[in-house]
């Protein structure tokens, strides 16, 4: 059977709107060096490497080949995985499977993006089917805005509810030295920010960033020797069910619902709101931070606004979400999902500094992207 796997080191760059001082390879090297330091390892200890980003953002083909210098991949096994916005979590899952397979003991997983190098919206529209959906497709914001409008109408959720989520994530980021956007905001600031696409406003939405994240996975025997408190991987589940935006069911978040149901089953979780101590979720827009809570089985459909208004997901609430500031504060797309995994791992390892949730023993991380896809990983302080 497979091996049990722990995360023993994480490294991130200081994410920013534009890292003019560093090329993509330099960004990668920064994150990788920090991850090696965090795990107290050298490149010689790494058995294999996996990397991911979204090609069209930097226009570099075969990035795993191009980035060899920064990845430390010369004369090592390496390949690339990529799945749009979920790339970061896909990279994390790949690092996990490398080790769980028993073929490699210590594996480096790297996600990165230099979104400043291109026109993000122009690059992203190429994901849509060129003969069917590309011309009318409205970019990332339109669909998310539409889905929340439906939710508001169906269940009485409000713009204040999503503004509360935006303020939460943005204020949490003040404790995260790596976050791109670190500004104190109130709910009023969010509600008064420029409207992008009703009801989504400027401060509701994630930025695009330059940044990289590296996570080191190790097999049980080595993880125990090398790390005082590894973050053990309990499960990884992925649902990329849709090919065309027109096929989606918009009343709830179908892939999130299906993926989380499966993951909870595999990890023996019956009451996720109670059993998780912390969650790092891929919430690209604050409206998702309201609606998608239903689809994580924290409550029935329509129950999320009540939880939000009670402060359930604040740092001092029952289940803190995004102590790092989440995607709304930092979004180097190929790394964003992996940052969720890295931040959740640091929570378990007790290394999350000013944003540490005390005694965190079980963490949920998600990735989102593509055609409303979901990647999900559960980490724990105890072996699975």
């Amino acid at each position: 059977m497979g091996k049990r796997v722990g995360i023993i080191g994480v490294g991130q760059t200081h994410h920013a709107a534009k890292r003019l001082d560093a090329s993509g390879v330099e960004l990668i090297a920064e994150a990788v060096s920090r991850a090696l330091d965090d795990a107290q390892l050298t490149m010689a200890d790494i058995d294999a490497i996996v990397v991911g980003n979204m090609d069209h953002f930097e226009n570099i083909n075969y990035v795993d080949m191009w980035a060899v210098d920064g990845l430390g991949a010369c004369m090592k096994p390496v390949f690339k995985v990529t799945t749009g916005g979920t790339t970061g979590t896909t990279v994390g899952a790949c690092g996990y499977y490398h080790v769980a397979s028993g073929l490699f003991d210590v594996v480096l997983a790297v996600g990165w993006e230099k979104n400043s190098e291109s026109d993000t919206q122009a690059a992203i529209t190429t994901c849509a089917n060129p003969t069917l959906e590309r011309d009318p497709f409205a970019g990332a914001i339109g669909p998310l805005a539409t889905e929340y409008s439906m939710y508001m109408k169906a269940y009485g959720a409000t713009e204040e509810d999503s503004a509360r989520v935006a303020a939460r994530d943005r204020n949490n980021a003040l404790n995260n030295p790596y976050a791109h956007s670190r500004q104190a905001v109130t709910m009023e600031d969010v509600l008064n920010s420029p409207m992008l696409s009703y009801p989504v406003k400027f401060l509701d939405m994630c930025p695009r960033s330059d940044g990289s994240c590296a996570v080191i996975f190790a097999v049980e025997e080595k993880a125990k020797k090398l790390c005082p408190r590894p973050a053990w991987v309990h499960t990884s589940v992925v649902r990329h069910d849709y090919t065309h935006f027109g096929d989606l069911e918009w009343q709830f978040m179908p892939t999130l619902e299906r993926a989380s149901a499966q993951a909870y089953k595999l990890a023996g979780i019956t009451n996720p709101l109670k059993e998780f101590d912390v969650a790092e979720l891929y919430i690209p827009c604050s409206t998702c931070g309201v609606k998608w809570m239903d689809s994580l089985w924290f409550c029935d459909h329509g129950g999320a606004p009540k939880l939000i208004r009670k402060g359930t997901f604040e740092m001092n609430g029952q289940l803190p979400i995004n102590p790092s500031g989440g995607v709304i504060a930092t979004n180097p797309i190929g790394a964003t999902g992996l940052i969720r995994v890295g931040e959740a791992a640091w929570q378990i390892m007790g290394k999350a500094g000013a944003r540490q949730v005390k005694g965190a023993k079980k963490a949920l991380c998600t990735g989102f992207g593509g055609c409303s896809w979901t990647d999900l990983m559960i980490l724990g302080a105890d072996l699975p």
Binding site: M54, Y62, F79, G84, C94, S101, T243
Partner: protein, 380 residues
């Protein structure tokens, strides 16, 4: 290590200007593979797709084929590189214990885009890309280095084209079956010295799907005849810039091959391997990679070619499918090579069937001038 088997293969015809979309190609190859394995689509629990945003002209290229690859309600991921790496990830996912049956599907429509433009994009935009270099001009420099290091001749490389296009005459799926001579190759239009048109693989459209299963599932779902075991695998990358390495030094390939042979319990590939499918994107690559794979000493590949060692009727047949020289669906090329070996090992290779074979070697490359390699040993 638990055993993993390939239980089904499906391929489209390798063509040019295919009127099918990516999704239709993947659907065809995947449906054929499921039928070949004799399983139901619900027996599959995860998918590894192999595709490229660049070649597809779509970012999140896997999105185009989610439905076609049987991914609804299942776990899916995408490797961007050659199919041999996708197969490796598919195997890892099974060995992890999380999955039992993996579809690995790769697609490529070379004729929908500009090969030179796309391969130029694999060069560093910060340095070499501005020079206009691409897959062909860089390969030409590797060929020249190889020739110079060992005193080889273009006529010797031409033997590979003659052999492989000739082999393709017995492969109904290949794009370019041709009976040609060394003179035909030498007289074909010069592209970038020393490469001529007939030294280069063709721009191709096609898809290939293989289905992997854990031993317990393989035994439950299929018969012994269908199962081919994945005995060993290794992968390794060399440096990126062309000037960072000796282009005729196959050290990364040797590393990958060593790993694969060790896993498969192979002490001497020359006697233990019965036949091979290697990534002959250009004619000179076949002998170069065979040296890196340990099938012959460094610099000896061309001599073995001249002796007929690698002919279909030779001691160790190489690329009886026709090789990538006869059809090169880039990302799918490595899976195409694996599929051929599976068919041979099962005794289902029709007119090109090799007799009494039980162990195959598959080789795939990623990056320019074979920067990265993935080596497989398959057996019955």
């Amino acid at each position: 290590m638990e055993k993993v088997a390939i239980i089904g293969v499906g391929q489209t015809k390798y063509d040019r200007n295919s009127p099918l979309t990516f999704a239709e190609l993947v659907f065809e190859a995947t449906s054929k593979a499921i039928e070949d394995a004799g399983i139901s689509k619900d027996d599959v629990d995860n998918i590894v797709s192999v595709s490229s945003d660049f070649w597809d002209g779509r970012t999140i290229s896997s999105m185009a084929i989610c439905d076609a690859s049987n991914a609804f309600g299942k776990d899916i991921t995408t490797v961007e590189g050659d199919g041999t790496f996708g197969a490796l990830y598919g195997m890892m996912r099974i060995l992890s214990g999380s999955f039992g049956v993996t579809i690995v599907c790769a697609h490529h429509k070379g004729t929908e885009s500009s090969m030179n433009g796309i391969t130029n994009c694999s060069f560093d935009p910060l340095v070499e890309r501005k020079l206009g270099i691409d897959a062909v001009s860089s390969a030409a420099m590797q060929a020249r280095r190889y020739m110079n290091k060992y005193g080889l001749l273009e006529e010797q490389f031409a033997l590979v084209s003659v052999k492989n296009h000739g082999n393709a005459m017995r492969n109904p799926l290949a794009l370019l079956p041709m009976e040609i001579t060394v003179d035909d190759v030498m007289n074909s239009r010069k592209v970038a010295d020393p490469l001529k048109v007939l030294d280069c693989s063709p721009v191709t459209d096609g898809a290939c799907t293989i289905i992997l299963a854990a031993e317990r599932q393989a035994k439950k779902l299929t018969t012994n005849k269908k199962r081919v075991w994945m005995k060993g695998v290794g992968h390794c990358s060399d440096a990126f810039r062309l000037g960072d390495r000796d282009l005729a030094d196959t050290r990364a390939l040797k590393d990958a091959a060593k790993r694969a042979y060790a896993m498969a319990g192979i002490d001497d590939p020359r006697s233990d391997i019965c036949f091979a499918e290697v990534y002959d994107a250009f004619s000179y690559m076949e002998p170069l990679w065979l040296e890196g794979l340990g099938i012959c000493d460094d610099g000896m590949g061309c001599e073995y070619l001249e002796r007929g060692y690698f002919d279909a009727g030779g001691k160790l047949p190489v690329n009886v499918s026709g090789g990538r020289l006869s059809a090169n669906p880039v990302q799918a090329a490595g899976l195409y090579a694996m599929a051929e070996c599976v068919l041979q090992l099962r005794g289902e290779a029709g007119k090109r069937q090799l007799k009494g074979v039980d162990t195959a070697l598959v080789h795939g490359i990623n990056g320019m001038c074979g920067q990265s390699h993935c080596v497989w040993v398959l057996g019955k």
